[in-house]
């Protein structure tokens, strides 16, 4: 990779990222579905940014757009100071990788573990002979805690947790600096989730890789992240340090999200007063005017309907997009 002069302290800089999907509404008629509508954030090397939100809020789309699995409608993404475009994405794929949500559909059932983990090596030609390829694969399997004897087995013979480890090994094969983790533990059993979360943390310590950790489980995100961004209908409504966000949430959506999380503790659960949000998330095809959250917000005023608030710093990098709080 060419050394750039404009090297910044951030590994990942996303600025006003927009991703609209055309949706057919009739014959030859399409309207844009604004899955991601002006998202900006930064990630430092070796840092974890958690991205939480409900289904359909666009968090997965953000991850996939960063890796150019979709071509963004607008905005820019700088990786290591370098603007990512269609042209330079192929070499950059060696530094950015992705771990997927579903450990069942993210591994090709007709390939052996060895071939799955070896595929990035094949694509980028990262070995000189078969022996080196095999050695690298076995090293990766060991790194994620897989038994090397199982290299020739097919993915369907493994349990969910082991499959997710295979997926992580595949992402690590190219020795990336940044991994987008798209709900990597939500499909796993409770008793396995902790194993995988721990592994993500250990790998970060060992390899210094940065994560964009996408999830809907606030407790998991809080545990693994340095900072957390909360998304609602294609926009980031609040972004802050993990503890700060948990202890002093400001945006009404973050508040209700936090209070809706079922706490595995009966006494706390009995005591706590939940803020139950009324109604459903509006369809992203019929977005409310102004602030997207105003239809479910108790504090909504006229200003909210007219103008969409942008993120403002409330001290110490705690950014909130709300008129009233």
């Amino acid at each position: 990779m060419s050394e750039q002069n404009n090297k910044s302290e951030y590994l990942v800089e996303v600025n006003d990222l927009k991703m609209y999907f055309p949706v057919k509404t009739g014959f030859m008629k399409t309207i844009p579905l604004k899955a991601v509508d002006g998202v900006s954030f930064t990630i430092k090397p070796g840092e974890t940014l958690g991205l939480v939100g409900e289904s359909g809020c666009g968090k997965t789309t953000v991850g996939r757009t960063l890796l150019r699995l979709y071509k963004p409608t607008g905005g820019e993404f700088r990786f290591n100071g370098e603007l990512v475009t269609d042209k330079n994405i192929t070499p950059l794929r060696k530094q950015m990788q992705m771990v997927f949500q579903d450990p069942y559909s993210s591994l090709n059932p007709r390939m052996t573990v060895e071939d799955i983990i070896g595929e990035p090596l094949d694509v980028h030609k990262l070995y000189s002979n078969r022996a080196e390829r095999r050695e690298k694969i076995l090293h990766l399997m060991e790194l994620v805690g897989l038994n090397a004897e199982h290299a020739t087995r097919y993915a369907h013979e493994f349990s969910g947790g082991q499959r997710q480890r295979i997926g992580i090994a595949r992402a690590l094969a190219v020795d990336p600096k940044f991994i987008v983790c798209d709900e990597p533990v939500s499909a796993l059993d409770v008793s396995i989730q902790a194993q995988v979360i721990n592994m993500f943390e250990e790998l970060q310590e060992k390899l210094g890789v940065a994560y964009l950790f996408i999830a809907h489980d606030l407790l998991v995100v809080h545990h693994i992240s340095n900072r957390i961004a909360v998304m609602y209908l294609g926009r980031i409504v609040e972004i802050a340090d993990a503890d700060e966000l948990n202890d002093h949430p400001i945006h009404p959506y973050t508040l209700s999200l936090l209070s809706a999380v079922p706490v595995p503790d009966p006494r706390t659960a009995r005591k706590s007063q939940r803020i139950i949000l009324e109604g459903d998330v509006p369809s992203p095809l019929r977005m409310p005017s102004g602030c997207p959250f105003r239809t479910r917000c108790r504090y909504a005023t006229e200003q909210c309907a007219n103008e969409c608030p942008s993120l403002t710093d409330r001290g110490g990098g705690h950014m909130v997009a709300c008129w009233n709080k």
Binding site: R64, L67, L69, I89, T90, R93, K94, Q97, M98, F100, Q101, D102, S105, S106, L107, N108, P109, R110, M111, E119, P120, V123, H124, H150, T152, R153, Y154, H156, E157, G167, R170, V174
Partner: protein, 359 residues
């Protein structure tokens, strides 16, 4: 609250058991690992084969088809008659050996056997009106039907895979246009096209050198072309549908995020995952091709005489149906057996290999 749990569990009071304190020592990791062995490694193919072999209908079909194939291969070498020759006894053509019943000998043959004491090979299915051994004709007819069926199915498969995978993978406008072409071909009446092509191709093909295919005749070649031109559309649609679903799988996205090129994704990720569906559908295509061949031959558009096919044999037998019913029965039974066995096998393969039906 706790009172609801007051029913004792069905297990015995543990204190009444004779327990050895040694058993309460900590278990070693080794001992624990023995409990936690991974199941025997099976590939998808092995697993499917195991299920296929458990299906009695599949076994019967396979045995039946093997018998038919064996007969097709061995019979011409064993039976001393040829499909196009009048029965010849001692160098003399036996003109009175027409329309013999199964296992019946003509007068000339009986005479010869009495004279020499040599036993002649029996006419297992009798003879036809031109004094040819019927059994060998049915065997050759089966051969033709088989070859047509398999070739047609293969042709359909190859064209269908290429067309379908391009259309399905690229999607968008390309897919739209390619699928409209498929729709147009679907709407053509196939029988009409066969007849038209047969007539047109007869002229053009008769001048061309056809090599081994020349024996099959221009009608047959026309039929291949028709299969190639018309019947791949079903396969193309199937492959496209498969690819559209497989394309949505996260492992395809994963391959893209790694940086794999389209060709690699189709080859390594998409085709291997729809190959079972393709093979099953091809297996199911064979009997339908045989059937088509038979009815085309029956209406006189099939293979060229004197080469028999099951359909043309049945057609020829139609005239003497009341006097010599077996001449119709033998080729008809053969068609039914082959088509039934292939259909059953195709269904059994679908049940065994289609992951959607897999629990």
């Amino acid at each position: 609250m706790a009172q609801n749990f007051d029913i004792p569990a069905p297990t015995k009071n543990p204190m009444s058991l004779q327990l050895d304190p040694k058993k309460f020592e900590k278990a070693t990791d080794e001992e624990k690992r023995q409990q936690d062995v991974m199941a025997e490694s099976t590939t998808f193919f092995k697993d499917g084969m195991r299920r296929l072999m458990r299906n009695p209908l599949a076994i019967i079909s396979i045995v039946l088809l093997l018998l038919v194939v064996a007969t097709m291969v061995i019979a011409p070498a064993v039976v001393p008659y040829s499909y196009e020759q009048i029965i010849t006894v001692n160098g003399k053509r036996d003109k009175r050996a027409a329309n013999l019943k199964p296992f019946e000998y003509s007068q000339l043959e009986q005479q010869y056997m009495e004279e020499t004491g040599e036993k002649l090979f029996p006419h297992i299915m009798g003879t036809d009106e031109l004094c040819r051994d019927y059994f060998i004709r049915v065997v050759y007819g089966t051969r033709v039907s088989f070859i047509v069926g398999i070739f047609a199915a293969l042709m359909v498969m190859i064209i269908g895979i290429i067309y379908g995978s391009i259309s399905g993978y690229l999607g968008g406008k390309v897919d739209l246009i390619m699928m409209r072409i498929v729709d147009i071909i679907y709407s053509l009446p196939d029988l009409l096209i066969v007849i038209l092509l047969a007539v047109v191709l007869k002229e053009t093909l008769s001048q061309a050198k056809l090599g081994i295919f020349s024996k099959l005749g221009t009608n047959m070649m026309a039929m291949f072309i028709v299969f190639g031109v018309l019947y791949w559309v079903g396969m193309a649609r199937l492959v496209r549908g498969q690819i559209l679903t497989i394309k949505e799988n996260e492992y395809v996205l994963a391959a893209k995020s790694i940086g794999a090129k389209n060709g690699r994704i189709i080859r390594r990720h998409i085709l291997p995952n729809c190959i079972s569906v393709i093979i099953i559908s091809t297996a199911q295509q064979i009997p339908s091709a045989i059937f088509t061949e038979s009815y085309l031959s029956f209406i006189g558009l099939g293979v060229q005489l004197p080469m028999p096919s099951l359909g043309s044999l049945a057609n020829a037998a139609r005239s003497g149906m009341q006097s010599y019913p077996w001449k119709l029965v033998f080729p008809a039974v053969m068609i039914v057996l082959i088509v039934l066995a292939m259909n059953l096998l195709g269904d059994a393969m679908r049940d065994a290999f289609d992951p959607k039906l897999k629990k």
